[in-house]
Amino acid sequence: MLQAFPDLKGRYGDFGGKYVPETLMGPLQELEAALDKMMTDPDFIEEYHHVLKEYAGRPTSLTYADKLTDHFKGAKIYLKREDLNHTGAHKLNNAIGQALLAKRMGKEKIIAETGAGQHGVASATVAAKFGLQCIVFMGEEDIRRQELNVFRMKLLGAEVVSVSSGNGTLKDATNEAIRYWVANCEDHFYLIGSVVGPHPYPRMVRDFQRIIGDESKRQFLEVEKELPERIFACVGGGSNAMGMFYPFLEDRSELIGVEAAGKGIDTPEHAATLSKGTPGVIHGSMTYLMQDENGQITEPYSISAGLDYPGIGPEHAHLFQTEQVRYEAVTDREALDALKLLTQKEGIIPAIESAHALAQAFKEVPFMNKNETILINLSGRGDKDMATLMEHFQEEV
């Protein structure tokens, strides 16, 4: 089954595909061919694993959260520590894979879109490491909000292009990156940051992120001898969740994807694509998205910039439809509370994105048995969120 999706047309059941301007069909076929070749080339696979180990710091730890476990008096809580990855999140796994692929394809320029800047920083990082030119598209509103990450990308040598179309956020940056790719696909590689976009991107990103789940499985079995009862991961585009879930899809573990409910899924301000969205096409892929009755894509909201995306990877849409993964949504406030609890109990300040996964786990774990176990994917560290946290916690700490 692990090989079953996507099919040859890039479909995960009803979802996926390539809904792109004709100009991109050539480059996507070229990419697909190169990818198929490389993913079966032991040399390439070895290089990818070598870089992950010697540069990115993998394997990342599996941490037993003893104090949290004591606190909830339910199932044993384990954390997969993607926050320990170089540049502070799982994003780099994928950026490394794609950058190596770009090099093998002879492309010397990469394009990336970014919202909060995490994927932009990861892309700028691999561009520096592998000697590629890098152009990052970022909404002008996000550039204003994420000044530090913009500077970081520039320091890494990347060019940051301000996108003023639409609302000047991630969705618009992605549109613009795709448009730029349309016009420059000859010598540019488009390095997408999540399991979204046209085929073969969702598959490729998943395959470069499944290292999370592969490592977790091995580490977990080493410590606990059996697999966790439940596995939690936050879902923006869905790459950290897909990377974590994929190797567990056929196992007995229950998989839970956690979306951002923002100010509440009954308000207009959320980013709970599966909980509240409907099927459609966004950024080249058939999937669930947030839209109005005329099929115009709407602006999502979440306190966490990395979850603030109106679409979701097509494989998630499929796993949702086939009920292989349970999807829940968690509000800003719930995520912040979970972030604070983890910080004070375990000395780990997670990314606000990751705190969504924590919050859902914390809702469930008290009702589980002490001989059960759960695994939470800590997709990134909270350093990038300090300004936001100061604003929200200033009075509490």
Partner: protein
């Protein structure tokens, strides 16, 4: 193709085509009609009626702005389709191609969508983010309803050129920033061989679009292809009149627009 489609019926010639693009509802339905009529007067052979979309992946900033204006004016896919009979009533006789991204179509649903197209006598359909491989069902439904599904083709379509060209309906939209911009006096050799290749396989007129923004471009394209598609440049001519329109100087706006179009396609 035993019976002529209404698109074919309304197309008065098959070469030297002028195919302008405007956005429905930019800046209002009323003016869309007026601009369309002016375009017909200036020799348009087909009207591409764009449906505004929030995330137009294949469009540059000019068309994005037009879409924003139209969305603010309340335009939608349904309303754009329903504008076609209005256009007819006001005297438009050339075939109309509805240009829409795929997502709004999904929301209406294929069946209802084609029913709408049929009820409103739309002659053609173009969905820029529905490439050949994803458009099987739509192409079939379009054929059933006698609506021409316009295909796009690009220089990097490579081995797919033959397949796409052979299945083309209405006219073939060659996407091309074919080196016609700037000072160049003739098309790049690759561009020429691309058009030649397309024409070799195509049963329908081959029109070239993307980045055509001056009378020189138009002439150059006409000398090699069966038609020229002009989008952004036409939109800019509309955009230039927004202020006049806002100030109630409608006639002045339309006359300026006519002069601009005439200059472009002379």
């Amino acid at each position: 193709m035993l019976t002529k489609t209404s698109f074919q019926g309304k197309l008065t010639k098959t070469d030297n085509l002028f195919i302008p693009f405007i956005v429905a509802g930019d800046p209002s339905s009323e003016f869309t009609i007026q601009f369309a009529l002016r375009l017909q007067e200036e020799g348009a052979d087909v009207l591409e009626l764009g449906v505004p979309y929030s995330d137009p992946l294949a469009d540059g900033p000019t068309i994005q702005r037009a879409a924003q204006r139209a969305l603010r004016a309340g335009m939608s896919l349904r309303k754009a389709i329903e504008l076609v009979p209005e256009l007819r009533r006001k005297g438009l006789t050339i075939p109309v191609v509805i240009f829409t991204y795929y997502n709004p179509v999904i929301q209406i649903g294929h069946e209802e969508f084609f029913q709408l197209l049929e009820e409103n006598s739309v002659e053609g359909l173009l969905i820029p983010d529905l490439p050949f491989e994803e458009s099987g069902e739509i192409r079939q439904q379009a054929e059933q309803k006698n609506i021409e599904f316009i295909s796009l083709i690009a220089p990097n379509s490579d081995q797919r050129i033959k397949q796409i060209a052979e299945h083309a309906k209405g006219f073939l939209y060659c996407v091309s920033s074919l080196g016609v911009t700037g000072e160049r006096k003739d098309m790049a050799p690759e561009a020429l061989s691309f058009i030649k290749k397309v024409k070799q396989y195509s049963q329908v007129p081959v029109a070239v679009g993307f980045g055509i923004s001056s009378n020189e471009h138009v002439k150059l394209v006409r000398s090699h292809a069966d038609g020229v598609i002009i989008g952004s440049k036409i939109i800019r001519l509309v955009e230039a009149e927004i202020e006049n329109i806002a100030n109630g100087k409608a006639d002045e706006a339309l006359d300026h627009f006519t002069i601009g179009v005439r200059e472009l396609v002379k």
